[in-house]
Amino acid sequence: MAEQESRTVKGNMATALGAKLCRPNVIPAYPITPSTLFPERISEYIADGELDASMVRVESEHSAMSACIGASASGARVCTASASQGVALMHEMLFIASGMRLPIVMAVGNRALSAPINIWADHQDTVSSRDAGWMQFYSEKNQEGLDLMIMAFRIAEDERVLLPAMVGIDAFVLTHTIEGVDVPAQEDVDDFLPPYDPPHGKLDVDDPATFGSFGTPEYYQELKHDQTVALEETDEVIDEIFDEFEERFGREYNRLNNYKCDDADIILMTMGSMSGTARAAVDELREEGEKVGLAKLTVFRPFPGDLLKEIAGDADGLAVVDRNISPGFGGAAFAEAAGTFINENKNPLMKNFIIGLGGREIFKENFKEMYHKTKEAVEAGEVKEPVEWINMNEEIMR
């Protein structure tokens, strides 16, 4: 196994370290809480001669993603970082990056969207970009943020993929929290991630090509289909590269991680930093004799429905925990999970729990409550309230 250096770093430093090891050529970025430390750190690497790259100081996130697109189209390896309103302001450009099949990697400090203004942990920013055609990875801890940055480049640039990717780390809970991480050596990352050499044309004044051309009704649908199939087929590539990463660096990743689910009657499904708390709750519930497991989403797009069917197909209940809300329906992961089982003969009863919005703390007790509520529904054989908000302060509600 490759030698690795132990460091203690904040989440933003972990993603910046991961990015640096990938030797990006161009980093256009606009600072926004809580991901500002990422471009700060990158600019220090460049100033200190540790990273040979161009940092483009743009005037907005829309410009940041525009510059990413131009640089990536010229054949450069490109990354950026953003959060919240910044990701929302990029929204238009996100579709262009994926439509032009540009493997840009973006670290996101997952944060709530205004109004009211709030800078804390919440998955609304990236979940609201779900349909932009990007791969979406979520981290439970800083180590995952670092590793997923490296793997995101490798997956995104794979000839079978050629799509952009976001790597989420929860605001403050990860971005500003110091944790120990093992940092792979530069030569080992160089071995794992070959230089980017796009199979499609590059922006090159000596050899012109058309990017972002007009797509009339005769072409648009086929192009979107081509891009959609490519995203769906990344499942296999992700599995393959997660396995290779584990062989080289000793850390296991799964699109949907199975923790004690094999014999579980009820499964909690989580995403991001809350998963650690959920695992602790599962352990305590297990000690109390409850047959509960945890399915952790590391990849939200493409949605790992195949693994969810394997992991939760035989369970009695599935509690989908969302740190986001799609007003008018429920949480985003809940909709995906429900859709996954729609044509199956057998499926777990499903409940959706909305929790932790705008940085509201999430406790072990909350997961136990969700478990018991799901168990009650299973025992009653019906779900009276499919979507429930957890940890609400009734006293301040109007």
Partner: protein
Amino acid sequence: MSKVKITLGGINEDEGSSKEYKTGSWRTMKPEVDIEKCIQCFKCFDYCPDAAVHKTEDAIEFDLDYCKGCGICEKECPVDAIVMVKEEK
């Protein structure tokens, strides 16, 4: 329907290829000219917003690969030599 194959990301590596890209597909009406009536004033040529009118030796002709069927040529023709007819596909 078009027969040109799509490319990865819609990226086109051929130079000057926009000439090959026909954009007249969404037209519902197309212009027809009565060459007998045409006095070769070329107002249609001047006013066509899409350069879809070409001058010929004895009159004009329409480039239906690009004509959008807007009908401006019909309105501008001083001798009613142009009529818009329904496009049948």
